[in-house]
Symmetry: D2
Subunit: 311 residues, 4 copies
C-alpha cells in the first residue's frame, strides 16, 4: 500500500522466493557489497512486482567521503556494467529525466560526463584505433512536457540512426529507504518499468520496444513522502509490545484505507530527499559516468578520459 | 516533539492566547487572506515558542496558475512590507541561504531580482530624483561553510557601511504543513530565530544584534521529514474511534521516545519538498522581489522596474 | 577574405543583383524594419554565397530597453514565422547549438520556453481543442562532441517519429557587424548552411536532407575575431585620403595573404561578443520563443501561454 | 592608444627600465616560466603605467590538456602566492567580478572551491589543530550594480570583521594578447588598479584603502575589441617593407585619432574571448583554488582538501 520503490532488493517478498523462482545473494568484494537478484518466471515476477530478468545492486555508502572507497565503487560498477553489456561494441547511452529538476537530473548529468566516441572513428581514426575506444554515442531525450515526444519514441528514433548493440539507460529512481539515497546503484537488464522514478517519463524503455538489449543503471534519489509515512508507522510498530502490536495491526493493515485517505495529499506530489541533494546528485553522476567510461573504453586510463572529454 | 516550524500561524497554542497576551486575526482582502499574530510579552512567547513581536502571514496558494491572483499576492505583500518598514528610507536587503541548495536558494534569488539604487544617487542623480527612488542596497552573505564568516557578522559589517534605517531579510523557512510550501509568506519584525530554516545559518539576525529594525520575509520551502512522520501519526489518530485512540495515545504521546528513536535517522538530514521545487522557488522569488521593489520604490511602475534592473 | 557572416543582408554583392536574380527590399512597419532578400537562381547564389531561397531580416535594435518596441518585435517576428510556415499544422522545433557555451546556447534556450503541445492532444484533448492549439513538438539535439550523433541525423530521427509538416530551427549565427549582435533576426527557408554559426554543428539541416520544409530562425550572437580585424582595416581606409588609400589598397587587397598570416591565430578560435552577452542571450531567447508560440498557437494569448508552460 | 592591459609583462616600456628603476626577469622551473617585474619608484611607474610594487607572472599555457603540466602550474602558483603572503596566518580571500557574466565570473568561481576554515577553529578545534589548517575566510562581494555597495567598501566591511593579516583578491583581467587568455596568472602586491578587468568594479582595492597587504591573483580572460583592432594594424605593419611602413606609420601613429574614431563603437562594449571560454573559466578557477588552498593550508594534501570542502 502506497509503497513505491524501484529497487529489486527492497521487495520484502524476495525472501519467499524458492530456488526455482530466482535467487538472491550478496557478495562483498573489498568494502563494496554487491547483491544480485534473478527473477526467472512470471510467478516470481508477480510475487515481487519486478519484471523477469537480472538485477545487481551495488552499495556505495560512504564513497563520497573516502576517495579509496569511491574508486572501489567505480571499479565494481564498471565491472557490473561490462558484465551486463555482454561484449556489446556499439553502445547508445541515454540519460532519462528532467535536467531542470534537481532530484531528477541524474541521468542528464551522467551524459554530460561521458566520453562519446562514435564520431571520432571518422574524425580522428588514428586516435580511435590506438586507444581501442569503444563506440559510444549519447542522448538526453528530455521529458514529455518539454518535448511533446515520448521518451521511448525518442530513444527508438536515435537507436534507428545509431543501430547500437545495446542501450545503456541512466535514471533517478525512487527508493523505500532514505539511507539508500545516492548510496546504491541498481543495474538490470529489464529496462525501465513505466511509472517509476521521480519524473513522469512513463513509456516502457525496454528490449521489447527497442529491439536491442536495454541495460538500466539507476540510483535512488528520492523517497516518496507517502512511503516515508507508511514506513514511519511500521517503525513505531516494531517497537511496540505484543498487545500494542495487535491493536496497531488493526489499523495499519486491515484499515489501510484510513491511512490512504490521510496520505492523500502526498501522493505523487511530495518527495523526501537529503538536505544536500544538489551536491549528492553531482557526485553520483561523476561516479556513474566514470564507471561507464571505464566499462566501454577498456584500455583508456582516467587521465586519457579527461583529455578525450575535451576533444 | 520533533515539530519544526518557522510559521507563527502554525503554533497550535495560539488559540490559548488571551487578549492581553497577543491577538490572532485573519483578514481577507480580494482573494488573498492575511493573518496577523502579535506576541506581546514573555509569557506569550514561552507559550508559543515565538519571540515577542508582530507577524503577518499572507496565503497566496494558487498564485502561480492565475496571473490576477499573482498580482493580488504581490500587492498584498508589498503593502505589508511597506507597513513593517514604517517609512524607512534607506533599506539594506539581505538574501539568507545557500544559493547552491535548491530549497535554500530563495533568499539569494530574491536579491538577484531587486532594483538596487543606492549607487544611482551619485551615478544618475537626475533619474534618481525624477523617479523618487528609494535607497536600496543588497547583500548575499552566503553561508558559514562557504565564507567562514557568521551570517550575522557579515550583515553587521555591511550595515556599518550602508547605515540603513531598516534591514529587510529574505529567507527560506521550514513549515509544518506541506500544503503551505511556496504558498505562504510570513513577514515579521522579530528577526530570524537561530536554528530555523533549511540551512545552517544559526546566528541571530535581529534588531538587538544589528541595531536597526530587522524585517524578515520568509517563505516555507521544506517540511522536516521527522515533522511529516509525526503528522502522519496524528492524521491516522484523527481517523480512529474512541478505543483505538486511547491505545494510540499511549504510544504517540506517553511513549514518544520510541518514535524519537525510530525517527532518529531523519533529524536534520531529510527534507520533504514538492516535486517541482526548482520551478516553485523561481516563481516565489519573483513574487517577493516584485513586492519588495514596489514597497521601496513607490512611484515606479513595473515596466520602469524592469528597465532599472538593466541600468 | 576571412569574412564570415550568416546574414544575407550583409552580403555586399546584393546590390549587384538584377531583378531577374532576386530582389532586396526593406519595409518598416511601426518602428521595426524588415528586409527581404530573394535568391532566385544559381547565378545569384554564387554571386552572394547564399543558397537559393527566401530571407527575411527583422531589426529589433533597442527592443531590450523599451517594452513597447519589444512587443512590436515579437509581433513582426511571429508574423514572418507564420508566413514562412505556410499553414503547417504539425511543427517540430529544433534548438541547435551547445547549451554549455554562452554565445551558442540561444537555440536550446528558445526550446526551453516553447509551449509544446503534441502530447496534450491525447492527455488533455478538451483543452487542446478549446484553445485550438497548434501541434508543436521540440528537440534539443545537442552537438556532435556531446552526442557522437550528427545534428542533422538526430533531427531526421525525430522527424521520422513526429512526421511534421515543417521543421522550425533556432540557431545562433555569426554576423559581420557588432552592432547587429542580438539585435537582428533572420528567417529563411534555405535551411542551415554547413560551417556557419558559433559551434561545430556542420551537417546540412535542410529540406533536401529532411524531406519537409525547414524554416530557420537565426540571431547573430558573435562576430568572428578575424572578421573584426579585417573590418578594422576597412574602417581606417575609409578615413584615408586619396594617396594613402592607394597605398593601403596594395596591402589590404593585393597582399591579403600577409594579413591572412597575421590573423592566423584567430581563425575559428576567437569570438567577439558584447560584454553583457549572457543577459542578451536570455532576452533574445524570450523574444524568439514568444514569437514562435504566437505563430503556432494563434488563438492563445500570452497569459494562457504562461499557464500552458506549466501543464 | 586604446591599448588596455592589466598585465605588467605586456608593458612594452619594460625594456627601457634601468636597473635602478626596476627589473624584469624570467625563470623557468620545470616547464612553467615565471617572470618577475619590480617597479621601484614613481618614475618607473609613470613609464610603465603600473603602480610601484612586485609582479610575478606564471605562464601555464597547455596545462588544460596535460595533467602533469597542470600539477606543475598549481605548484608554481601556490609557491608564488605563499611568497607574496609573507607568512600571513589569517587570510581573507575575495572573488571580484560578476558571477552572471561568463568572462567575469572567474573570481566568484575560485571562491566556490576554497577550503574556508575560519569557523572550524571553534566548530572542529581538534581537526583544525591536527591538520594545522590556515585561517581562511572568503567573500564574494558581487558588483556595484547588483549590490549598490562599492566593492572596496564591502571588502573593508568584511575585513573589519575578520581582521585578516592579508587579503587575497581573485579577478578576471584584460590582456593585450589573445594567446594569454586563461593561460597566464599575474600575482602582485599592488592591489587592483581601478578601471581594469572585465566588469565595472572601479574602486581601489589596495593596501592603502584596506590597511593590510592586498595580494591580487589575476588571470586575463578577455581582450578588449579595440585592443585587438589596434594589434591587427601592428601585425600588418610588421610584415610591410620599408616604404610601406613609412606610409603606415603616418596613419597608425600620427593620425591615431582617425583610428580612434573608427574604433569608437567598440570601446568598453565588445570583448574578444576564446570560443570555449565557459569551459576555460571553470578549469582556471580550479587551478587557482587548488593553488590557494595549498598555499594557505600547507600540511593538507589534496584528498584531505576535497573532504574539507564537504565539512
Amino acid at each position: 500500500m502506497n509503497i513505491r520503490t524501484d529497487l529489486a532488493t527492497e521487495q520484502g517478498e524476495l525472501k519467499h522466493l524458492g530456488e526455482k523462482d530466482g535467487f538472491y545473494e550478496t557478495v562483498t568484494q573489498g568494502d563494496i557489497p554487491v547483491s544480485r537478484v534473478r527473477i526467472v518466471n512470471e510467478n516470481a515476477a508477480q510475487l515481487t512486482g519486478k519484471p523477469i530478468g537480472n538485477y545487481a545492486t551495488i552499495f556505495f555508502d560512504g564513497a563520497f567521503s573516502d576517495d579509496a572507497l569511491f574508486d572501489q565503487a567505480v571499479e565494481r560498477t564498471a565491472e557490473v556494467i561490462r558484465e551486463f553489456l555482454k561484449g556489446a561494441q556499439n553502445v547508445l547511452a541515454v540519460g532519462l529525466g528532467n535536467a531542470e529538476m534537481t532530484a531528477d537530473a541524474l541521468g542528464p548529468k551522467v551524459i554530460d560526463r561521458l566520453v562519446v566516441s562514435r564520431h571520432l572513428k571518422d574524425k580522428l581514426p588514428d586516435l580511435y584505433r590506438q586507444l581501442a575506444l569503444g563506440n559510444l554515442s549519447a542522448l538526453r531525450p528530455g521529458v514529455l512536457g518539454q518535448t511533446g515526444i515520448e521518451t521511448a519514441e525518442m530513444i527508438r528514433a536515435a537507436a534507428d540512426t545509431v543501430s547500437p548493440d545495446a542501450i545503456l539507460v541512466f535514471d533517478a529512481l525512487a527508493s523505500r529507504r532514505a539511507k539508500r539515497l545516492c548510496a546504491t546503484v541498481q543495474i538490470s537488464d529489464t529496462g525501465i518499468v513505466p511509472g517509476s522514478g521521480v519524473g513522469n517519463h512513463r513509456a516502457a524503455v525496454n528490449r521489447e520496444y527497442l529491439g536491442v538489449p536495454v541495460i538500466s543503471v539507476g540510483v535512488p534519489t528520492v523517497v516518496d513522502a507517502a512511503t516515508l509515512a507508511v514506513d514511519t508507522l511500521e517503525k513505531v510498530r516494531d517497537r511496540m509490545d505484543e498487545s500494542e502490536r495487535a491493536m496497531a495491526k488493526a489499523w495499519t493493515e486491515d484499515e489501510g484505507d484510513r491511512l490512504r485517505h490521510a496520505m492523500g495529499d502526498y501522493e505523487n506530489n511530495l518527495i523526501v530527499t537529503p538536505q544536500d541533494i544538489d551536491a549528492l546528485i553531482d557526485r553520483t553522476a561523476k561516479l556513474l559516468a566514470t564507471a561507464a567510461n571505464q566499462a566501454i573504453h577498456r584500455n583508456v586510463d582516467r587521465e586519457q578520459m579527461d583529455l578525450l572529454c575535451r576533444v
